[in-house]
């Protein structure tokens, strides 16, 4: 047998991808490319976190940017001249993810009885309230000006400086960590509880699942990922301001999930990479290209939302389960249509068998 089994092929594929990702900053010296990848990394981390809430537990959260804001502001307030507190970046990763998780529970608790549309609307509200709060707490946050010149992280006494490369590696490590956590969660007892809640919350309660604890864990764990992303993103930009965490960020991250395949970790990563690529690379680069060939009035980045819209509508029409769907989602969108006739057929078949 010379053919590789599917599992081995996947392993080799992942190993090659890992080497390429590790070596990338040496292969490509264009700092803007690394910068793009580091930003995309922050969004992948956000998408992995939101996937826990929406993909695993089925709780539609339209205000996820709130936790991204909380993580970012935590770093800005505790690692800058703002209050003269300078907690190291590495410790802040941990602290901010805990803070975000606590807010995940605080904002999740009032929504426990809500489902579907109602949950979405309340989370939408929280997503607006949090940046508004940062905007209006001027004495702590400088309001619309935000907090700037945040501490530069350093490693072994060497500052990250203004290169994107160290952030690229930090995010790569965080993403690998995030994937490991997400994969293990999905396979855990808690992961099964989430799946049951997503399918039918009342039936889940009949199974003896503590739905309150399971849902709060989803909110807390999901939020903790965005705490990490927030710290890395804020440190990299060395600036936070309330306008970075508008509703469109929540929608963007949710779109990444929808595009990639909600509930599927590989799908979520692909989806967030593709949207980041379009958003921060393809559109600006093609605009530059257009300017270079003399089309000075063209700015493709203005068409960003139109393009998202087209992509999402196309996905809903042709591949609603996402690019790389989870098994469960696929069933949801495809087998459901075949169900009624199939079930009827089975019923009559069974009764026929019982009579003879």
């Amino acid at each position: 047998m010379t053919a590789l089994s599917g599992r081995n092929r996947t392993r080799i594929g992942l190993a090659v991808l890992g080497i390429v990702l590790l070596a990338f900053p040496w292969l490509d010296h264009n700092n803007s490319h690394i910068d793009f990848l580091a930003n995309a990394g922050a969004f992948i981390l956000l998408a992995l976190g939101l996937n826990i809430v929406v993909g695993f537990a089925g709780l539609l959260d339209l205000g996820y940017a709130a936790f991204f804001a909380i993580g970012s502001y935590a770093y800005a307030m505790l690692a800058s001249q703002q209050f003269g507190i300078h907690i190291p970046f590495w410790i802040m990763l941990f602290v901010a993810s805990v803070i975000a998780a606590i807010f995940g529970i605080l904002l999740g608790a009032p929504t426990l009885r809500l489902r579907g549309d109602y949950l979405a609307i309340v989370t939408l509200g929280f997503g607006e309230i949090v940046p508004q709060t940062f905007l209006n707490l001027t004495q702590f946050t400088n309001g619309p000006n935000g907090i700037s010149s945040l501490d530069q992280p350093s490693i072994f006494g060497k500052s990250f400086g203004f290169s994107a490369t160290p952030y690229y590696y930090v995010l790569l490590v965080l993403i690998v960590l995030g994937i490991l956590i997400a994969v293990n969660l999905q396979r855990s007892r808690l992961g099964r509880a989430w799946m049951a809640i997503r399918e039918d919350e009342l039936a889940a309660r009949h199974m003896g699942i503590n739905t309150t604890a399971a849902k709060l864990s989803a909110f807390a764990l999901g939020a903790s990922f965005s705490g990490l992303a927030g710290v890395a993103y804020a440190a990299k930009l060395s600036l936070v301001s309330p306008d970075q965490f508008q509703f469109n960020v929540s929608v963007l991250v949710l779109s990444m999930l929808v595009l990639g395949g909600m509930g599927n970790i590989a799908g979520v990563i692909v989806g967030s990479f593709v949207l980041s690529f379009i958003n921060s690379f393809l559109l600006p680069q093609s605009t530059n290209l257009a300017h270079a060939i003399g089309l000075a009035n063209v700015d493709f980045t203005n068409y960003r939302f139109m393009l998202y819209g087209v992509i999402l509508v196309a996905m809903m029409l042709f591949r609603p389960e996402g690019l790389i769907p989870s098994r469960q989602r696929k069933a949801e969108f495809h087998e459901a249509m075949a169900d009624p006739t199939l079930a009827l057929q089975e019923q009559s078949e069974y009764e026929g068998a019982a009579r003879t």
Binding site: R189, R192, A193, M195, A196, E199, D200, L202, A203, A204, R205, H206, M207, G208, I209, N210, T212, Q328, A331, E332, E335, A336, A338, D339, L342, A343, L344, E346, Q347, E349, Y350, E351, A354, R355
Partner: protein, 239 residues
């Protein structure tokens, strides 16, 4: 000591009173049935026992412990299995995954594996369908799955909410046969049914619920013979 004692519970949904002073008792090893028409409060009674509806008055004791304030997951852990109204199988999961979720509260893998074999013995039909999505099962098979899933928590008391609803007469026979078998294997059963004749046929005792109140309680044989019950629930009498 009775396995389950429900003592004068009131329950309401907002301003609508669903139960008024409902009391019932299930002894270990019995099949007890609660019969009554639509909206009588049968499902609410089971939901109150499961902790899914909180009674405003009264007491519920299971195996001697007060469980009125317990959360639903704790009640399942105490040994109350509940096959819900409308089956509510996890349609997009396979039969196996449904059964595994039924054993959610349990930890011993060996015990779960042996119970898995046991319920498939009781429901051989499910064994054939083990890898199939439960949404593709027939109504009868889904009912079997809902019951099997509730059994996977290894309940002392199995509560069944209208297991015969929507099934063909032959399937109803099968389901009632299985309930008898589950009981013979040592599980106490509290059964609610609109199909009073079938339910009284396998039960030892019964309660009749009308608009939130228990109006009759007796042995199944006496209820079956009672004129009032016959007229209202067994299609006997002049009509």
């Amino acid at each position: 000591m009775a396995l389950l004692e429900v003592d004068g519970i009131d329950a309401s949904y907002g301003r609508i009173r669903a139960l008024q002073g409902v009391s019932l008792r299930v002894e270990e090893g019995e099949i007890v049935t609660l019969i009554g028409g639509n909206g009588a409060g049968k499902t609410t009674t089971l939901r109150a026992i499961s902790g899914l509806v909180k009674p405003t008055k009264g007491a519920i004791r299971f195996a001697g412990d007060d469980v009125l304030r317990d959360t639903p997951d704790r009640i399942v852990r105490r040994g109350v299995g509940h096959s819900p109204e409308g089956r509510r199988v996890f349609a997009r999961m396979t039969v196996r995954e449904n059964l595994e979720l039924g054993a959610y509260t349990r930890t011993s893998k060996a015990e779960i594996a042996s119970d898995f074999e046991r319920v498939l013995e009781i429901f051989p039909r499910l064994k054939e369908r083990i890898a199939q999505k439960s949404g593709t099962l027939s109504g009868g098979e889904q009912q079997m799955l809902a019951m099997a899933r509730a059994l996977m928590s290894r309940p002392k008391l199995l509560m069944l909410d209208e297991p015969s609803l929507g099934l063909s007469p032959i399937l109803v026979q099968t389901i009632f046969g299985v309930i008898r078998e589950i009981n013979a294997r040592g599980t106490t059963v509290l059964l609610i049914e609109q199909n009073a004749r079938q339910a009284l046929g396998i039960a030892s005792r019964g309660y009749v619920l009308e608009v939130g109140k228990i109006v009759h309680e007796d042995t199944a044989a006496n209820l079956m013979a009672s004129e009032a019950v016959r007229a209202a629930y067994l299609g006997g009498g002049a009509a």
